[in-house]
Structures are given as C-alpha cells and as structure tokens.
C-alpha cells in the first residue's frame, strides 16, 4: 500500500489533529535546512517551530488539490524570514567571506581566490539590495532549486509573475555587479 499524500494527511488532521505530526516528519528537515541557509542555525530552529505551529493552525486553508505540502510550507517560512532580515544579511556577508577561502584554500598563490574575495562581498551586497519579492524568488530558485510551479505555490503567485520577478532579479544583479553598479547602489 502506498503512503498517503500530504493532502490526505492534512485532510485527516482536521478530525485527528495529531496526524499532522506526519507532515513534520516528512518536511521538517528540508525546511530546517532552508531556514538555516537563510538565517543561521539558531534563528532557524526557532523559526521551524513557529512555521509548523502556524501551518497546523492554518491547515484547513491548505489547498488539498496539491499533493505535496512542501511549497505551502516554504511559503510560510519565506514570510517568517522577513522578520529576520538582519540575521539573513549577517549570514550572507559571513558566507561571502567564508566561501572564497573554501573554494581556493591556497590563499597566497591563487589569483582566482583573491578575485573571489573581492567579488563575493559584492554579490552578497547585491542580493541584499534586491527588493524583498525579487530576493525571495532568486533564493528559492538558486539555493532551494524549487521548480517554477512550486515557487508559484509557495508565494501564491501566477507562474508568469514568478518568472518575471526572477528575470528582474537577474537583471538587477547584473547591473549591481557591473563596475558602475556600485554607484547605483549608493544612489538608491
């Protein structure tokens, strides 16, 4: 016998609330990693608790024509992250410092490493400078590798809007990363 879909489990949890624990078992690890990448381990652990409490309270609003609850949960998590923008910014800047040294451990020799140490802080700043709705789409796409349909479900947007936001984010990043881009960041 195949296991019940998320939609079936959420449906069952309306009458038997404790069934909702299975939704946690299935998706909590994914969401904890998602929130951790964005806001760090400490913030993420608190947020994942909040996320599932909210999901449980709103479970009757879950669209049960969707088999998986994961995009819906990503959407709740994305909203929660908006309250933790400072933790996100700190983590992004820290990653910009750490990642290049992981990429090219031999600091003295590699010109590429030097280059990376200059480039990544600018990428981090550029991502930070994106409007919230564009940054959400970009990071769900680039870090979580969600398909368009899942992003649309998570953000409760038409697929076309998701695509155009992602394109705007790309264009803005390109602009912000060009040599002249720095001035534009300042003038914003």
């Amino acid at each position: 016998m195949s296991s019940p879909s998320d939609a079936e489990v959420v449906g069952r949890s309306l009458a038997e609330p404790e069934a909702f624990g299975l939704i946690y078992d299935r998706h909590a690890a994914t969401l904890l990693r998602f929130l951790g990448r964005r806001a760090g381990a400490r913030v993420a652990e608190g947020l994942v608790g909040e996320l599932f409490r909210i999901a449980f309270e709103r479970r009757q609003t879950f669209d049960r024509s969707r088999a998986s609850a994961l995009p819906w949960l990503y959407g709740i998590g994305t909203n929660l992250l908006l309250k933790h923008r400072r933790a996100e910014a700190r983590r992004l800047r820290a990653s910009a410092r750490i990642i290049p040294s992981l990429e090219a451990p031999d600091r003295r020799a590699s010109a590429a490493a030097l280059d990376a140490r200059l480039v990544f802080p600018r990428v981090a700043d550029a991502i930070e400078a994106l409007p919230d709705d564009e940054r959400e789409v970009l990071l769900l796409f680039a870090w979580e590798e969600l398909p368009y349909q899942s992003m649309a479900e998570a953000l409760e947007l038409p697929i076309g809007t998701v695509r155009s936001r992602l394109n705007r984010a790309r264009a803005r990043l390109r602009e912000l990363l060009e040599p002249k881009g720095k001035d534009k960041v300042r003038s914003r």
Partner: protein
C-alpha cells in the same frame, strides 16, 4: 559568471545540533494536544471536590484510566493545584478544591452525596486495574438486568464511581411510567 551562478555559490548550510528536529517535533505535538484540549468543552462538566487535587488526579489516572488535560491545570503561586480537568472517553470532569463553590469532599463530610457512572469497553479489565492501584471496591462486578455488567469503587477521598459495560444508551429506568 552569470549572476545567478554567483548567487548559488553563496549557498551555505547551517550546522544544526542533531536534536534540533526532535525538539521541534516535541513542541509541535504539545501544541497540537493543547489545541485539542482547548476544543474539548462538553456542555456539562461535573465538578468534583477534593482536599488534595494532585493526589486525586494521579489516582484517577492510575486506577481508573482518566487522562488529565494538562493545559487547563490551575496552579497557585504556592505550587498547589487549585483545579484540574480530567477526561475519559468523550467526557470531562473538573477536579476542584473543596470548599470552593460550596462543594465538600466526602473525606471531610463523612458522606458522599452523589456518584458518577462511566461506560467502559471491558468492565472486568477495568476492575483489575482499579484493584491493582489500591481502589476500595464498594460493589464487586456483577451482572444487572438489560445486559449491563458493573462494579463500583471509591477513590482516595471517598467519591464513588460506578463503571459499567453494555449500556451506552440512557438507562432504562429513565423511561416514563416507572415509579
């Protein structure tokens, strides 16, 4: 390199304690149970007075199979429990402090003025559990008319509980016409 590829390289996983997920699960299940308990408010909730509520609840759970609705427990600053609710099947009973609302425990009054009937699935198994927990038996298990099997037990403070099997509908003697 394309901007999105650069952004991808900034992806960095956080290091979690292994127990983080278990803590989250425990917190969620507690929240779920509490919500369930808040919604369980039957139309009628008998209130039963005791001198020692903590001991009473512990005994009712161990001997008779009640389950306390922990989210509704009232505890004073002195750490003494002033009120608790326990459930059994689809029923809820309040366990209150004697003296409050004019209600007195049989332990003080010397006499019980009421008893409570509870339907169970297996009255003999229930009896065994009650005896093992030290309940005083006031009436041994016996068959009654209407395919009812019942026994009666006293709790720590002398409240009388009647446990019966085979009678989910209203008792016959409630029918009109009987004296």
């Amino acid at each position: 390199m394309k901007p999105v590829d650069l952004a991808k390289k900034l992806r960095r996983d956080a290091a979690f304690e292994p127990a983080a997920l278990d803590r989250g699960k425990a917190a969620l299940m507690t929240a779920i149970r509490q919500e369930g308990e808040r919604r369980r408010r039957p139309t009628i909730v008998p209130q039963v007075p005791y001198q020692n509520i903590g001991a009473a609840v512990e005994f009712l759970e161990r001997a008779f199979g009640f389950r306390e609705l922990r989210s509704s427990r009232l505890v004073g600053r002195d750490g003494v429990i002033h009120h608790a609710n326990v459930e059994f099947g689809d029923g809820v009973i309040g366990i209150g402090t004697q003296g409050a609302h004019g209600a007195i425990s049989p332990q003080s009054a010397g006499v019980a003025s009421q008893y409570i009937s509870i339907s169970v699935a297996d009255v003999d198994a229930h009896y065994q559990q009650a005896v093992a927990a030290g309940a005083r038996i006031a009436d041994e298990p016996h068959d009654e008319s209407g395919s009812i099997r019942a026994y009666e037990a006293l709790d720590l403070e002398g409240h009388r509980w009647r446990f019966l099997q085979g009678a989910r509908e209203m008792p016959r003697y409630e029918r009109r016409g009987r004296p």
